[in-house]
């Protein structure tokens, strides 16, 4: 039962351009959404989050947008840098049980 879906397994972008990662969810009970970044041989690290009462959250080069009616969120990275090359996981949580559900991930490659 895949409640969080990332339909693009990979994304290649030129350095300096925008990276847009997409995520869809099916469970309307989710009230908090997170993005994690993962380098090879390391655990996922928290990147940015958004509450369901907001539609946008910005932190430096990273912005997350939430469209509740469409059950869709996206992560924008502007400008993309070589160090951004990693796997990005979308995750969702229901504050009633704090159980994190993850998408399958999107591998981002930033080309010089």
């Amino acid at each position: 039962d895949q409640q969080v879906k990332q339909n693009s397994p990979s994304l290649s972008v030129q350095e300096g351009r925008i990276s847009i990662l997409n995520c869809d969810y099916t469970n309307s009970m989710f009230d908090y959404f997170l993005w994690y970044k993962k380098y090879p041989a390391e655990g996922p690290t928290f990147l940015i989050s958004i509450s369901s009462i907001k539609d946008k959250n910005e932190d430096g080069r990273f912005t997350v947008f939430l469209n509740k009616s469409a059950k869709h969120l996206s992560l924008h990275i502007v400008p993309s840098q070589p160090g951004d090359s990693a796997v990005y996981f979308c995750a969702a949580i229901w504050s009633n049980d704090y159980k994190l559900s993850f998408g399958a991930g999107t591998t981002v490659t930033v080309r010089a």
């Binding site: 969080v4 990332q6 397994p9 908090y32 997170l34 994690y36 041989a41 390391e42 655990g43 996922p44 690290t45 928290f46 989050s49 996981f89 949580i93 504050s95 049980d97 704090y98 159980k99 994190l100 559900s101 993850f102 998408g103 399958a104 991930g105």
Partner: protein
Amino acid sequence: EAGVAQSPRYKIIEKRQSVAFWCNPISGHATLYWYQQILGQGPKLLIQFQNNGVVDDSQLPKDRFSAERLKGVDSTLKIQPAKLEDSAVYLCASSSQGMTEAFFGQGTRLTVV
């Protein structure tokens, strides 16, 4: 602040053998998670503890997997007997009570041959 510690980092075993993983969460974090990440997939929750009680173990294959969190701190995850399809990275994460952000350890990469 020390992060989530896991050991071992890597483990290779033969099928039908047993294996155990250890996790030490961030000090004071009440919630502890064990995830299984198969190559090319997202992390799948195996079990979630709140202090030393189990909150959710609905996706834990209980015929072969077991986990415990004694005294609400460290946790161990055991597989007995292992199958080839158990080859994966096992991630431990912890979070402070009421917090949505979970912090992950580096994981244990298990290869079953």
